[in-house]
């Protein structure tokens, strides 16, 4: 027993001088933290940062409709939650569903896990304040016929939509399902007005389709 006590007393970390020093250091740290925590005013620089990171307004279960100059419904966006960030000129949507009217044709329905509605940097029109949507996550683009039979469905992980131009575009891998064929590629450009879908040539992947010749 006595030998154990002797060993302990020789241990450098358990010397009384060091213990006292550590205690003082801990006390000073605790006091400093308390003083800082008592100050209710944030740093002005941080205040700006915080305000840009915080939405100015939020809404749940919303539907946002956009009409043309002639008063026709161009598209609507419904989302579980919508957050507005005016300083960044963007809105964030959770589980957005975009319905885009197509002139005398079946509408497009675009779904995603999340979306960002923003302003394109290259536009100056005030009316086009929010003229670009970026859908992310599991993005699906569907066009249904009147019989509710699936006509075509595109799947990708990111999609840029330009409603005023009636155009959607991605550079990500894409999979197209049609009644008569499937196609996989990387990137596409979709004309939402005419339904023309372009799989452009790229260095990473070729366009591959499987055609179903018989039912």
């Amino acid at each position: 027993m006595s030998s154990n006590t002797a060993n302990r007393s020789r241990h450098p970390w358990l010397s009384s001088v060091r213990l006292a020093g550590l205690s003082v250091l801990a006390l000073v740290t605790a006091l400093t933290l308390t003083i800082e925590g008592d100050d209710p005013r944030p740093d002005p620089d941080n205040r700006d940062l915080v305000s840009t990171l915080q939405p100015s307004s939020t809404a749940t279960g919303v539907t946002w409709q956009v009409f043309s100059d002639q008063g026709k419904l161009d598209y609507d966006v419904s989302a579980k939650q919508l957050e507005q960030y005016p300083s960044q000129q963007l809105m964030k949507a959770a589980n957005p569903i975009v319905r885009m009217a197509s002139q005398e044709k079946y509408p497009w329905v675009l779904r995603a896990d999340r979306g960002v509605i923003s302003r394109r940097r290259d536009t100056l029109e005030v009316a086009d304040q929010y003229n670009q949507m970026t859908l992310q996550g599991h993005v699906q683009i569907l066009r249904q016929s009147d019989t509710a039979k699936k006509q075509m469905m595109l799947s990708t992980s990111q999609l840029h939509i330009f409603p005023t131009e009636q155009r959607a575009q991605t550079d990500m891998p894409v999979f197209l399902e049609h009644e008569r064929f499937t196609t996989s590629s990387e990137g596409f450009d979709l004309d939402l007005e005419t339904g023309a879908l372009i799989f452009a040539q790229n260095a990473h992947a070729r366009v591959t389709s499987k055609l179903f010749l018989r039912d």
């Binding site: 339904g195 023309a196 452009a200 070729r206 389709s209 055609l211 179903f212 010749l213 018989r214």
Partner: protein, 181 residues
């Protein structure tokens, strides 16, 4: 002597035709021409919903079990129920079909190759040629039945090139003499 020679040569041609069409009639059992799925690969593609067409451009390859078509451009035309027509253009577009182990593969080339899936027909036009089991046919237009392996060569109008046929005549003397009456 001359009459005998003519008779022998006419029999050889007739024999050649039989070999050509006979081998064609022994259609590929191993290859499933009526396979239900065709794969198409291209550098780029455009799908037009209104027209119900999809067009592939750049090193396009269309293939299914035992068959391959290669060209610069492939247009797939659909209707509400089915794939109607697959048109391949090239300089030239080429076709290959695997045959059974004892026969040589069928190959073809033309400026345009149209594949009609419903009837399993192939229409080759524009400097068309088809080689089957060593026999070769060239014509302005060749129709080839993928299932039966039968062909029909001709010209849409008389001014175009005539049908030219090169038949592989067996040279084995034993075989020839045994086939003579």
């Amino acid at each position: 002597m001359l009459r005998r020679r003519i008779r022998i040569s006419s029999r050889a041609v007739w024999l050649g035709c039989l070999v050509f069409l006979g081998s064609a009639a022994r259609a590929e059992n191993t290859q499933d021409a009526s396979a239900s799925q065709l794969t198409i690969e291209g550098d780029s593609a455009v799908f037009l919903q209104e027209q119900n067409t999809i067009e592939y451009v750049g090193n396009v390859v269309a293939f299914m079990d035992g068959m391959r078509i290669v060209g610069d451009r492939v247009l797939v035309e659909m209707n509400a129920d089915r794939i109607e027509r697959i048109t391949t253009n090239g300089a030239p577009a080429t076709f290959w079909q695997k045959r059974h182990a004892t026969a040589r593969d069928t190959t073809a080339a033309a400026n345009t190759i149209v594949f009609l899936p419903d009837s399993s027909l192939l229409e080759l036009s524009g400097s068309a040629s088809l080689k089957q089991d060593g026999n070769e046919v060239s014509s302005a237009l060749i129709r080839y039945d993928l299932t039966l392996g039968q062909l029909d060569a001709g010209s849409p109008n008389a001014s175009q090139e005539r049908v030219r046929m090169q038949l592989r005549v067996p040279t084995n003397s034993t075989q020839r003499s045994s086939e003579e009456p």
